[in-house]
């Protein structure tokens, strides 16, 4: 099997927290990302779904080297990035770019659009000829849907709308012609009316430029617009992963089922029974024993308190971390 573009194995990110007492030596940690594994192929889009605080943004930051990971391996195009020296990261960053959630915060207010988009080229010392650089900046703005590009070059972020700003952020990512784009909630701060435009733009870029996209979201409704596969995260771990169609139509994990049941369906005849989860997400410092979902799981049994389930294949490319999957499926059939 050929090496995928991105290969993530056993990635862990623990944040130590200061002990409350003066002399307490017991080091307590927040399990932000706890043993995450997945592959991402070239030109493929994977949606990482989960509620806030489940560790999806932390995972994105570790993939970009913005947070050092505690353990695990991240291989990008066969190159190990975990614990790699800065030169390796610098080279990798040319091919891995990121889009952040809030376009009102992620653009430097003192720089013009042209400068913002030009900066990655300067940093990586690419397209040093003035004409060549200008051409690439214009192409990136154009591809990000800011047309005519020269009209935007000398504008400042505060003169643009939220959607236009996010397009600037996308153009700044595109200008390096990356192979992987990590988009952390790229539309959640935008007006609903322009979300579709940005999602379509990302989907279009994926196809046209063959860019792999790691799309992080808490909103299952936006997933099918862009993703090929879905990974559902709960408390720092992937509990279900599979093709969009499989996961959305036949969710196997009780958590995925609960998430899907509350997505508004346009057709009222297809309305499902809402599964409202009881209780709150457990404290990521004191994780529950056994399956970390069992305190809120509607189908938990005694054994769930002891066994920590691992991802197990239930179909082609479809894996679930639940010990009752087979049993429950036979019951419903």
């Amino acid at each position: 099997m050929p090496e995928p573009l991105l290969r993530v194995r056993g990635v862990r990110k623990l944040f130590p927290i200061k002990a409350a007492g003066w002399r307490t030596h017991a080091q307590r940690v927040v399990h932000a990302v706890d043993d995450v594994n997945f592959d991402l192929g070239a030109g493929e889009a994977l949606a990482l779904v989960g509620e806030s605080g489940c560790g999806k943004s932390t995972l994105a930051l570790t993939l970009l080297g913005l947070e050092p990971l505690t353990a695990g391996s991240i291989r990008f195009e066969g190159q190990e990035l975990a614990g790699a020296p800065p030169e390796v990261w610098r080279l990798a960053r040319r091919h891995i770019q990121m889009i952040f959630q809030d376009p009102y915060e992620s653009l430097n207010p003192l720089m013009t659009v042209g400068e913002i988009v030009a900066e990655p080229l300067q940093v990586h010392k690419l397209a040093t000829a003035t004409e060549e650089r200008r051409r690439r900046i214009m192409a990136a703005l154009d591809d990000a849907g800011l047309k005519p590009a020269q009209h935007f070059m000398r504008r400042f972020p505060h003169e643009l709308s939220g959607g236009q700003r996010q397009r600037v952020a996308i153009a700044a990512a595109l200008v390096l012609e990356p192979r992987l784009l990590v988009a952390d909630e790229p539309v959640s701060m935008l007006d609903v009316s322009i979300r579709a435009e940005i999602l379509n733009l990302l989907a279009d870029l994926k196809v046209r430029r063959q860019i792999a996209v790691l799309f992080i979201t808490h909103d299952l409704g936006t997933v099918s617009a862009i993703a090929d596969r879905i990974a559902v995260m709960y408390l720092g771990r992937i509990v279900e992963i599979g093709a969009v169609n499989d996961v959305l139509t036949t969710p196997q994990h009780p958590y995925t089922q609960a998430l899907l049941s509350v997505v508004p369906a346009p057709n009222p005849r297809l309305r499902r029974q809402h599964i409202i989860l009881q209780g709150e997400t457990p404290d990521p410092v004191n994780l529950p024993a056994g399956c970390r979902f069992h305190p809120r799981c509607p189908v938990a049994i005694a054994r769930c308190h002891q066994v920590d389930p691992v991802l197990q294949a239930v179909g082609a490319g479809h894996a679930v971390a639940c010990i009752r999957t087979t049993e429950l499926r036979t019951n419903t059939l």
Binding site: F100, S106, L107, N108, P109, V123, Q150, F156
Partner: protein
């Protein structure tokens, strides 16, 4: 392309309107200050004819002669012979023969009057004193800005580490020290252990062999008051630089810059500092305006012949022309510093001034 030019033109119009607006307000404020200054000092208790000459034997005739010479025998303004004590007077007098309009008329001609005490033109005395003050403040401010910013940047970069806490503690201490107390302590320390002069601007009665010797003598006199000034202001600059930079470093565009592949130095230089400097520019400009007057304490402790000392003496002697001139100078410098800060802000931050 045509679209581009049009955008620029409209911005240019915006900027000019903004500029004209600010300058008009500054002019109006100065006018208000002139009127306020005139009446303020005449409402204060005290009589220039008596305060100037501390001799109880001064006869009533001599006092009247002094009043006549300085024009203080004329009514302050229509309907008021004097403001302290309040004496209502004739309202039908020729306005041009009242103290206020004589003062206003002189100002329009660029005449600031003659000091009651020194009998020298106010402009001449103030100019001399202002130069000394600017020398003291210039040296102190430049040092305070450079050191304060450097310390602030270091603390913000090492935020929440012992380096940060050390710098914060030092700055808070420096900021809260009373200026005169610090001055006295440094004066004691410097003159005792370093053999530095205790005050003044030059050694009295000295004949300099050459310019170099004169400069060294000046530097030795300048050292302690400038150091006091630096320590007092360094804390403020450090605290503002640190908090501003810590805020900026937490912004998402800093994270974006990291993700783009910029190294720490590039992030600090290209993204963080430019944004963090905005509040610093305001504080520096405002301080420069105020400190023309704010050095009174340091100038008193070190007997520095600056503007602060001159104002102190003029208040004691009710030297109206000196007070009016000095306060007008202070007001103008504060207003001009404000104006510069605002205009600089409009230039540094594209979000300001363009509606």
């Amino acid at each position: 392309m045509i679209l581009c030019i049009r955008v620029d033109e409209s911005q240019l119009v915006h900027r000019s309107v903004y500029l004209a607006n600010k300058i008009a307000w500054a002019a109006f404020t100065i006018l208000f200050v002139i009127v306020l200054n005139f009446f303020l000092f005449r409402i204060l208790p005290g009589d220039p004819a008596r305060a100037g000459v501390r001799d109880p034997r001064l006869t009533a005739e001599a006092q009247a002669a002094i009043r006549t010479r300085f024009g203080l025998d004329k009514p302050v303004i229509n309907c008021f012979t004097s403001l302290n004590p309040l004496e209502p007077g004739d309202c039908a007098v020729n306005p041009l023969d009242t103290q206020f309009f004589i003062y206003a008329g002189n100002l329009l001609r660029g005449e600031f009057g003659i000091s009651y005490h020194t009998n020298r033109p106010v402009v001449e005395v103030l100019g001399e004193r202002l130069w000394n003050t600017l020398l003291l403040i210039g040296a102190g401010q430049i040092l305070a800005i450079v050191l304060g910013m450097a310390l602030g940047i270091l603390a913000a970069w090492k935020a929440r580490t012992p380096v940060d806490y050390g710098a914060l503690g030092f700055s808070l201490l420096a900021w809260s020290l009373p200026t005169f107390w610090l001055g006295i302590i440094l004066l004691f320390w410097g003159s005792t252990y370093l053999g530095l002069p205790v005050g003044g601007k030059s050694t009295p009665g000295i004949n300099y062999a050459n310019t170099w010797e004169e400069l060294v003598d000046l530097a030795r006199h300048l050292f302690l008051p400038s150091l006091t000034y630096t320590i007092v202001f360094l804390g403020e600059y450090m605290l503002i630089m640190r908090s501003s930079l810590v805020d900026v470093l937490a912004e998402d565009y800093i994270l974006t810059a990291k993700a783009k592949g910029l190294n720490h130095f590039q992030i600090l230089k290209d993204h963080a500092l430019k944004n963090a400097m905005l509040p610093m520019v305001t504080i520096i400009a405002l301080n420069l305006g105020f400190t023309v007057a704010g050095a009174v304490q340091i100038e008193s402790v070190f007997s520095w012949p600056g503007l602060g000392g001159a104002i102190y003496e003029a208040v004691n002697r009710r030297d109206y022309p000196m007070l009016q001139g000095a306060f007008l100078l202070l007001a103008v410098s504060v207003i001009v510093a404000n104006l510069i800060a605002e205009l600089l802000y409009g230039y540094l931050d594209p979000r300001v001034g363009v509606e």
